[in-house]
């Protein structure tokens, strides 16, 4: 499920991972396992709770392996959310076999990622985790993370995903949290993060305006449309504020069945045209040439990988 290998030629445009729906659950949630299993999320982020009345490190260390196991029940990749300002201690208490990586929050510069990457290397060696297996994702909630996004994404081979935390980022930027504008005030920031993440072979996860800001438990149609806009913007998935979003993210952040069928037709018709010595062929009044054929192949691969991911989760549910 989780590989950190560089995509081969022709795969650069593919999403590095199928990470359409990301769901956050607290390790203190007594129904953690049930909720994770029922969610069908591609990834679960485990949120830590540091209890002030006890040794939180010891507490987490003793509970994390079971929490990771519970979160993975439904076939989701499991991540742990780590706060930058106390990363070393939190990593020590939470990195165990079974996680796919960490989601780093509060990043303001590339050094934050470098420090965590070095620590993960040591923990992988000491805890029986394959070398370089753990991914570092960055939850973007500061102006510094936006400004330094390229350096941050390039800071480690482990970098995988930017996850945009819109409410917190807006607060950090002094933006009003009410969506009263007729445009997305984060539009250019989102464009930047998508481009930067893609440039290093990663991806960006986020929701379209205003749902990404309001985080509402909106109706199905609203979520569906928001997911479509987010996918059209270049996001490959989103953090789901509500379990009800997950289904629509899983369906929306991938080519649809109709699109996949069309791509199959494009590939077949174009191959026939090439055999006949043609450089382009028409389908339903549209011209199909090399770039259209390539895009169809890429999107079909994306659809197939998404389907494979769904199959894995289905297997985990049997």
């Amino acid at each position: 499920m989780n590989t950190l290998t560089t995509p081969g030629p022709g795969e650069q445009l593919m999403p590095k991972y199928i990470r359409r729906s990301v769901f956050v659950l607290s390790i203190d949630d007594p129904q953690l396992g049930e909720k994770a299993y029922a969610s069908w999320a591609d990834a679960i982020i485990l949120d830590l709770v540091k209890k002030p009345d006890r040794d939180w490190q010891q507490d987490l260390t003793s509970r994390m392996p079971a929490a990771i196991h519970a979160a993975a029940k439904g076939g989701a990749d499991v991540f742990v959310r780590i706060n930058c300002d106390s990363a070393a201690a939190e990593l020590e208490a939470t990195v165990f076999r079974g996680i796919s990586g960490v989601v780093l929050k509060g990043v303001t510069a590339a050094d934050d990622v470098v420090t965590v990457a070095e620590r993960l290397k040591i923990l992988e060696a000491s805890r029986g985790i394959a070398s370089a297996a753990l991914e570092i994702d960055v939850e973007v909630n500061t102006a510094g993370a936006v400004w330094h996004s390229l350096e941050i994404a390039r800071a480690s081979e482990r970098f995988g995903v930017f996850l945009i935390n819109e409410p917190e980022l807006c607060k950090n930027l002094g933006m009003q949290s009410a969506p009263n504008l007729d445009f997305d005030p984060l539009e250019y920031i989102k464009s930047q993060l998508i481009t930067v993440a893609t440039s290093v072979g990663g991806q960006a996860l986020g929701m379209s305006y205003p749902l990404g800001l309001t985080q509402e438990n909106a109706g199905d149609d609203v979520v569906k449309k928001a997911v479509k806009r987010a996918r059209d913007t270049g996001f490959k998935g989103a953090i789901c504020s509500h379990a009800s979003w997950i289904k629509f993210c899983n369906e929306g952040f991938r080519p649809t069945a109709e699109e996949a069928a069309y791509y199959v037709k494009v590939i077949e018709v174009f191959a026939e045209g090439i055999k006949r010595g043609m450089a382009s062929v028409p389908i339903d009044g549209k011209m199909i040439d090399v770039p259209v054929d390539l895009r169809a192949k890429l999107y079909l691969k994306w659809a197939n990988r998404a389907q494979a991911r769904d199959d894995e989760k289905t297997k985990a549910h049997q």
Binding site: A143, W147, G174, M175, N180, P185, L186, Y188, I189
Partner: protein, 243 residues
């Protein structure tokens, strides 16, 4: 930290050579008065504008107003020398392209503070970005001097430099505003800018357009802007919120 951004919503700009206009600022109640040595002053009035700065700064200061001087990029050294008088709060530097320019100006201000008896290190620098280079270097430029307390968007020069005058929305403007906002927030500087729409800029803006430009900029995270006319001041103050 000198920044008091919640108290600096409206930056009323006034030609430095026009003594009557300067004194009218006492009644306008803008949060900041900006004595202009740049576009609002015709070339043949530059010298008299510079010569009158000391008296204007004192009078406005006596009225408890915060006074900044906007210098001309091309004559910035002479302008800073002329502007540095007791009571000045800061210098607005339009169009910096590189950190070295800001550092150099900061050093000149330090020299002038000593020479004119202005408390050392108290004169602020406000940078109005007006070029592609300036926007790209925004963070480095803003960090070039400890004096920098605000970063702003200079729209008219941007329009001239980055493309033809737009007939419709200047879409690039929102990207540039976002860039300034991110740099300013990252570095703890006040972000200055209003979301002016086509035909609504500065002195030609109607009341409702001014109110909208300020309100939308506040929603985007900005906390103040330049006012070209006294009528804009209450609208801008309201748009950016109560001090």
């Amino acid at each position: 930290m000198r920044m008091t951004e919640n108290n600096r919503r409206s930056w009323m700009i006034v030609p430095a050579h026009d003594a009557a206009a300067v004194m009218r600022c006492v009644d306008v109640k803008s949060d900041v008065v900006v004595l202009d040595l740049e576009y609002a002053v015709p070339p043949n009035a530059k010298e008299s504008a510079r010569a009158g700065l000391g008296a204007s700064i004192k009078k406005l200061g006596d009225a408890q107003l915060e006074v900044f001087v906007r210098i001309d990029r091309d004559t910035r050294w002479a302008d800073v020398r002329a502007a540095m008088h007791r009571g000045i709060k800061g210098i607005i530097f339009p169009g910096p392209d590189a950190p070295e320019e800001v550092a150099e100006l900061g050093e000149l201000i330090a020299t002038m503070e000593k020479e004119r008896g202005v408390e050392s290190g108290t004169t602020e620098l406000v940078l109005m970005l007006e070029s592609a280079k300036g926007f790209w270097n925004a963070a480095a430029i803003a960090q070039a001097s400890q004096r920098v307390t605000a970063l702003g968007v200079g729209r008219i020069d941007l329009t001239m430099r980055l493309g033809p005058v737009p007939q419709d929305e200047f879409r690039l403007y929102r990207f540039l505003m976002t860039r300034v906002l991110v740099a300013a927030r990252m570095l703890g500087k006040q972000p200055l800018g209003a979301l002016w729409r086509p035909g609504s800029r500065g002195g030609v803006a109607a009341k409702d357009a001014t109110a909208k430009a300020a309100r939308e900029a506040r929603l985007m995270g900005f906390t103040g802007c330049i006012c070209a006319t006294a009528e804009q001041v209450p609208l801008v103050n309201e748009g950016y919120g109560t001090a």
